[in-house]
């Protein structure tokens, strides 16, 4: 049975499942590094997922849909930025408002545009990037099956997430942009003193995180599912924040932590196929990612250090 569970597609599915979490987690990393808490990633992802489907429906192109998803995430992010940076509102409360707004907007627009609540019709999806025919028989066939599944089987946003993690990691620690971003979250007053605009820096960080949240939503609807269902993000935005913490506020760390959650998700889906053998109710499998999140937070938080100025509004002195 183990050979039936640990197949190439289990690992491929783990990487697919990790993608929306990783994108949102990296968004959380960038946002929190600038000193702004973003629990609105959940709402940005949901709005992106919805607008991606609507965009694809109206343009006929899932690429245009994905772009609209990104812009939609950014528009919600702009609200969060305005509230938490300009108005100095409590960032967690502003994030909650955006999450509820997103739930309401997607539900409302669903009935206005689609004409009914629940789930939309399927739309065109983004296709896998590669389509290579390799050997099918013998040892090479087996090796190729693994390589093909784990390396070459994905849709575009899955690869984008990996690139974003690596480039983000490099940029955060090796560029002037990264240094400034980290300064904003550690000691905004000092950053301000040496002439870095705290306001502008934080705005751009929040908006980038919104773009990543929107892209995560596009991955859900335009690559994984192919349609939108109300509330379909199911707290992924919150799990992503835990992944960001587990990844110690670094892009690659966020990606790897998301991989852990993605693997848990892939495994629970796989195990459900063996329900007749493993007599455990499906709800316990479905709970797994949430339980794992609590366990991970319990284990690492004390040792991971958050940016010092996180959650604190900045007032120019």
């Amino acid at each position: 049975m183990l050979a039936d569970i640990f197949t190439p597609d289990l690992f491929a599915s783990a990487i697919r499942m990790a993608t929306p979490l990783a994108l949102a987690a990296i968004g959380g990393t960038i946002c929190e590094r600038s000193g702004i808490v973003n629990i609105a990633l959940e709402g940005m992802m949901l709005f992106g997922a919805f607008m991606g489907v609507i965009g694809t429906m109206f343009t006929g192109s899932p690429w245009a849909g994905a772009l609209i998803a990104v812009l939609s995430g950014m528009s919600l992010a702009l609200i969060h930025a305005f509230a938490s940076i300009t108005l100095r509102t409590d960032q967690v409360v502003s994030g909650t408002a955006i999450n509820i707004l997103s739930l309401g907007l997607t539900g409302f627009l669903m009935e206005v545009i689609i004409g009914h609540p629940g789930t939309t019709d399927p739309v065109a999806r983004l296709r896998p990037v590669f389509n290579i025919t390799g050997p099918t028989e013998g040892l090479f066939g087996t090796v190729w099956r693994w390589v093909d599944a784990i390396v070459f089987s994905y849709t575009p946003i899955v690869y984008m997430a990996i690139v974003i993690a690596v480039v983000g990691q490099w940029a955060l620690f090796n560029t002037r942009w990264g240094l400034r971003l980290r300064a904003l979250g550690e000691h905004p007053r000092a950053a301000d003193t040496v002439g870095i605009s705290v306001i502008r820096g934080r705005y751009s960080a929040v908006i980038v995180s919104g773009a990543l949240g929107g892209l995560a939503g596009a991955n859900l609807t335009l690559e994984q599912v192919g349609s939108f269902t109300e509330g379909m993000t199911n707290a992924r935005g919150f799990i992503a924040l835990a992944a960001n913490i587990f990844g110690r506020w670094t892009p690659v760390g966020s990606y790897l932590a998301s991989l852990l959650f993605g693997f848990a998700d892939a495994l629970q889906i796989k195990l459900q196929l063996f329900r007749d053998v493993i007599r455990i109710p499906s709800q316990f499998f479905l709970m797994l990612p949430y339980v794992l999140t609590v366990v991970v937070l319990a284990g690492v938080v004390g040792r991971a250090v958050a940016p010092a100025a996180i959650g604190k509004p900045y007032e120019k002195g």
Partner: protein, 366 residues
């Protein structure tokens, strides 16, 4: 002496009015933005709000329905407000509510045949206890390792929902096709208020409403006059100063989040004992999350929670009529709710509007 009292009294009244100004103006702005959204989407906001008002307050049955829907919101609103007072954001009230509902659905059957007052008391206590227990691990993690309660209580909400979903489809499932528990015997239910107040007939509003209002007063008293309440507020206001002043921040954090969980658990208990008389997957219409809006609109004041819960209960009760008569999707209420949270939190916007209208008033008078 009399002069002085009158002066303090009038000061108090202006003080209260000033306190109320921001929430009231915020609700008005949210309704205005909601109207614009309706207009843009091709609906008539006036018809919509008129239908909503009729559905919420148009008669005895409607008023009863508003009271019914405000009941769980008072409990969850109190839960979130108590947490906020102690500097904690219990975003997972929904999960504690689910566990409270679960305990009532189970215990109500176990206690069949016992006297009704005893059952009511036991079921309420058990629901509060399990609600507190469901908040305990997040509370412990917050106090010991600093894990953010927003993430952990949210995770526990999903875990709780899946547990309920498993139990109503499996071990606690009543015979038949529908995944739900057995109906509670009458001795394990809360009496309906129309038995005492006939003008509410035939609404389903139950005794839980009275419990919620009394509890709001009790929580207000606890926060204002007990050392428990004082410690919670002190830690919420300034944990460092509290620690220096001899209050244990971790212990207070754990206590406060568990009290918050207990209050949220009661929402589930009264929904099961008063409304559905059984448990199923979808027995809560997101009351835990709406509780956040209730608490914020009430500025975390337990007495304010009563009023804010009635407002949101009215929105919810009127939403159905609005959808039927004005054809506007009920989801618009969620949008208005989000806008209210946003505007109350970012109170500069409301203050700016108030200041602007006051300046206008002065100009017009001059």
């Amino acid at each position: 002496m009399a002069e002085l009292t009158r002066e303090t009294l009038s000061k108090r009244v202006t003080g209260v009015l000033r306190e109320l100004a921001v929430p009231l103006v915020s609700v008005a702005i949210a309704a205005a933005i909601g109207s614009v959204i309706m207009l843009v989407s091709g609906f008539d906001p006036l018809t919509a709000f008129a239908a909503m008002f009729k559905g919420a307050f148009g008669g005895g049955r409607q008023i009863g329905e508003t009271m019914l829907r405000s009941t769980p919101l008072m409990f969850t609103g109190l839960a979130v407000a108590y947490g906020f007072r102690a500097g904690l954001f219990n975003i997972g009230a929904e999960g504690q509510l689910f566990m409270g509902g679960l305990s009532a659905a189970w215990l109500g059957i176990v206690l069949a045949g016992m006297p009704r007052p005893l059952n009511i008391v036991l079921m309420i206590l058990a629901g509060a206890a399990i609600g507190a227990a469901w908040a305990f691990i997040p509370a412990l993690l917050k106090a010991k390792v600093g894990a953010h309660e927003v993430i952990t209580t949210m995770m526990f909400t999903y875990i709780g929902r899946y547990i309920v979903s498993w139990l109503v489809t499996g071990p606690l499932k009543a015979p038949g096709q529908i995944p739900q528990t057995n109906r509670l015997p009458v001795e394990s239910t809360l009496p309906r208020l129309h038995e005492m107040l006939p003008f509410l007939t035939p609404s389903r509003v139950h005794f839980g409403f009275v419990i919620a209002v009394l509890l709001a007063m009790f929580v207000w008293w606890v926060l204002k006059y007990t050392s428990l309440g004082y410690e919670s507020r002190a830690v919420g206001y300034n944990p460092f100063a509290s620690e220096t002043g001899g209050i244990s921040v971790p212990a207070t954090t754990i206590k406060a989040l568990c009290i918050s969980g207990a209050l949220a658990g009661l929402a589930g208990v009264t929904e099961v004992m008063g409304v559905h008389l059984r448990l199923f997957d979808q027995f809560s219409a997101g009351f835990g999350f709406t509780g956040i809006a209730v608490a914020l609109l009430a500025k975390n004041n337990p007495i304010g929670v009563i009023a804010a819960a009635i407002l949101f209960g009215g929105l919810s009760a009127g939403g159905g009529t609005m959808q039927l008569e004005a054809d506007v999707p009920q989801k618009v209420i969620l949008i208005i709710q989000a806008l209210i949270i946003f505007l109350v939190a970012a109170e500069q916007i409301a203050r700016w509007v108030i200041g602007w209208t006051e300046r206008k008033g002065v100009e017009n008078a001059g």
